[in-house]
Symmetry: C2
Subunit: 140 residues, 2 copies
DNA sequence: ACTATATACTTGCATTATACAACTATGTGA
DNA sequence: TCACATAGTTGTATAATGCAAGTATATAGT
């Protein structure tokens, strides 16, 4: 029987998860672990957001984001803007130091991946990037 | 400036990690969590192997695999074959019940992914699967 | 206006996956 | 034979996470 591509995709995704996780979990690049990096990236690229919105974006529990953003605030990478309309809410904004840290992180991460991909044709890299993005958008 | 594809790939991989993790960590499909699924798959497709070899394959600590395989043995999905040449070593072999569990798991996981990909052209699915495999092989 | 309920966030607790280190038992080389 | 290496197990620590309970604020129904 011929394998449906989704079978391959499922298996390879699971393997990738394993490997990528092992290579990135609890491992900071510079000063940011994976969650901090993603949070900063999100805030930086999509603008400030509250805990709840971020939790939904990442499909994580609100409490998890609450702790992660508290940690980022602690490090001075984000600050809170209290919502003038709602005394319970606030949104997170990136600081200058946060933006700097994010940029250097991005660079380091990029270099790591570029090294892995050095043997790949640019076309394959392009295609892989596009399909990953497409998949992530599908995956929401 | 034009973004190098590796930048996109890095970011999308990180996002994917987050999402896929959230959707699969601590979540069993049937009776198997992600590690159990991967271990069973490995043993089933690549033949029996010892704790050390599996740890290397997955880039995990030997102790982690030791626990995970003990759990699989506990459930009756694998059994040990003592190495006749080496009294310290053994290798893990899948049982019939393990093979059955693996098959039904694979099916369930496949269906989940196929559902996500239903809007995709078969060509894109094919390509995505190939690139993922290629990346995993690169990633070793 | 008052009360009940909903919402945004925090904090306490439990669980899980993992690594590292110490340990046991067995094998191997000088 | 003895020192060291190797396969695997177990104890302990850490980190990411979810759930549940708690706090403070907002909103809706009466």
């Amino acid at each position: 029987m011929t394998k449906h591509p989704a079978e391959t995709i499922e298996l390879e995704l699971t393997i990738l998860m394993r490997r990528f996780m092992a290579a990135t979990t609890n491992k900071k690049v510079g000063n940011l672990d994976r969650s901090a990096y993603l949070l900063l990236h999100q805030i930086s690229s999509q603008g400030s957001a509250g805990v709840k919105a971020l939790a939904e974006e990442f499909h994580l529990d609100i409490s998890t984001i609450s702790r992660q953003s508290a940690a980022l605030e602690q490090k001075g990478y984000v600050y809170r803007i209290l919502d003038p309309q709602d005394g319970r809410a606030y949104s997170l904004q990136i600081t200058e130091s946060g933006a700097k840290e994010l940029a250097s992180n991005k660079q380091a991460r990029f270099e790591r991946v570029a090294e892995l991909l050095q043997e790949w044709s640019l076309e394959d890299q392009q295609m892989f990037g596009e399909l990953l993005s497409k998949f992530n958008r599908t995956f929401i």
